[in-house]
Symmetry: C2
């Protein structure tokens, strides 16, 4: 059987472009015992994948040149030699960018336990949602009346984290890149205040929206925005470090103020967040999020792009802020 796959053609130096991707046709071998043949329904593109394009040690191995990219995928089983899965079953997993592919059945998570659209398993009911949940509940631990700032607030994690923190009674301030996004954050997702980092002076906007300082910060962005937030944080505040998208495309090692100095002076806690570290507690997060959704307390937001061939463009769009909420490609 001939299928298409998208491989990493070369590692980017600075901002990635279409030249980093190449579509190939390959022949799939016959299924072995324990394997299943899968057809993807939805594929997730995420900022952290930029990190995997670098050839450096991290919490996840780097992509290899000439090998297929991979990420979160919801797929349907077409053939199975794995006892627990049958054709028609839907699963999610960390899987390759291909029109069909073979996977080990034991490494897949069956979905369908929660009555939501399939794509939610890549977003609000997947590692994106779990990240928002643990970032808020385990690290920020917001208290009623506290002020929580979220950078990349209109991104996949930000939209969910803001809603969860709000449910804890905190004031939520979102920082995003357009007035359109910010209007949605206020009207649809209950953010109390919003800042447009493209048109506003960040320190002044933080002074306006956080008159009592900042108690918790969920950071998806890094760079100048984070410098300004840290400068306004209260003593013993907490930072959940989720992403640093402003730095991912830097050609040279990014420099800035030595931020450990104010972190010391204010006695801040900073926790670099790895979703895999919480693996054993994913069911807890899944259950809690499903409950909030079913009670109408938590809303999903997705930007869905259609077509397998659009995967590279959808990924590149993440760095232009072209998504609101979770960016997903429907195959």
């Amino acid at each position: 059987m001939t299928v298409k796959q998208i491989v990493l053609a070369s590692r980017p130096d600075g901002a990635p472009g279409l030249q980093q991707f190449r579509t190939e046709e390959i022949e799939l071998p016959a299924l072995k015992e324990g394997e299943v043949l899968l057809r993807p329904l939805y594929v997730s593109v995420d900022p952290y994948m930029r990190g995997r394009m670098r050839d450096v040690e991290s919490y996840i191995p780097p992509f290899q040149v000439d090998k297929p990219l991979e990420g979160g995928v919801v797929a349907i089983v077409e053939e199975s030699r794995f006892a627990a899965l049958k054709p028609g079953d839907k699963v999610s997993g960390m899987l390759p960018w291909a029109t069909k592919f073979i996977a080990e059945g034991s490494k897949l998570q069956p979905i369908g336990d929660v009555d939501v659209p399939d794509s939610y398993n890549l977003g609000i009911l997947g590692t994106t949602g779990y990240t928002a949940y643990f970032g808020v509940v385990d690290i920020l631990k917001p208290q009623p009346g506290q002020t929580i700032v979220i950078s990349g607030a209109a991104g996949a994690v930000g939209v969910i984290a803001g809603q969860i923190a709000k449910l804890h009674g905190a004031r939520i301030i979102g920082i995003a890149g357009s007035d359109e996004k910010n209007e949605l954050l206020k009207k649809e997702f209950g953010f109390d205040e919003v800042i447009n980092y493209n048109t506003e002076d960040i320190p002044a906007a933080l002074a306006r929206t956080c008159p009592d300082g900042i108690d918790g910060y969920l950071d998806n962005v890094g760079g100048d925005i984070t410098d300004a937030v840290v400068a306004r944080m209260n003593m013993q505040g907490k930072i959940a470090l989720i992403g640093q998208i402003a730095l991912y495309n830097a050609k040279e090692e990014p420099k800035g103020p030595r931020i450990l100095y104010p972190i010391l002076m204010k006695g801040l806690l900073v926790q670099g967040f790895l979703i895999r570290q919480h693996y054993s507690r994913w069911p807890e997060a899944r259950q809690a999020i499903a409950k909030m959704i079913s009670e109408g307390k938590l809303k999903s937001k997705e930007t869905i792009v259609e077509g397998f061939d659009e995967l590279p463009n959808a990924f590149l769009g993440l760095f232009k802020g072209s998504n609101i909420g979770k960016m997903i490609v429907k195959i």
Copy 2:
């Protein structure tokens, strides 16, 4: 009664010098109810006091120009209008640089509960020792076989922290500024390996001494040394941020690599350390440290300078690395 006091003559811009200090004579008023007249025996000088010379918000109010400096002091009561203290009692507290002074009795801690030299109450049995204790036990939580790196290892906190971490079964690597200091760290205080930051290439020296990476880092220094340590840290490592002495005298905002990026990629924990945050648990630390001393497991190290007039020079010496262990002025 006429006494001498040392006031902040002006705020330093960059490295502080003798011009920052001025000695004055003042008249002490009569004691009010609840007050005691104290004569200092030992005065502590500490790097964090450089921060208080800046006019910025922090965990502790800034020193005021033309007002006396203050710090940790062990003093003897000469007169008392506070019921719980009588002449001859010894106390410690955050007290002014003066040859005699009046203090509120309720704000003083009686000493003498542990049979050690009085000066220990400013070092190993004072906030210095408590800082080392909580930094190691609460933040780094070293496990047998783990590698712990300590910058400013020959400083007041470093010497104690290294010994406590060693008692947890960890390998201890100290970074200090002279071979003399480093020899002492190995021979007297049980450090497994040492690095001289003045003569060695730090990344190479860390590769040599930490072949399995670094699990915990107690940072007194900041700057380039910390960049190199973070680059060699293992996934989910922990950083106890105690001091950033390399940055305190910067004339302009110090810049460096954006360190939150590797902190995220490695899922590190960073805790800015404030000793006041642990106030309710100081007795626990005091008891634990006294026990380790009495069992011969923990040794104190002090550099003692004599004479009230030497206070400014002793303080300035901290930034030249002229102390080993705790720098104390005997009055």
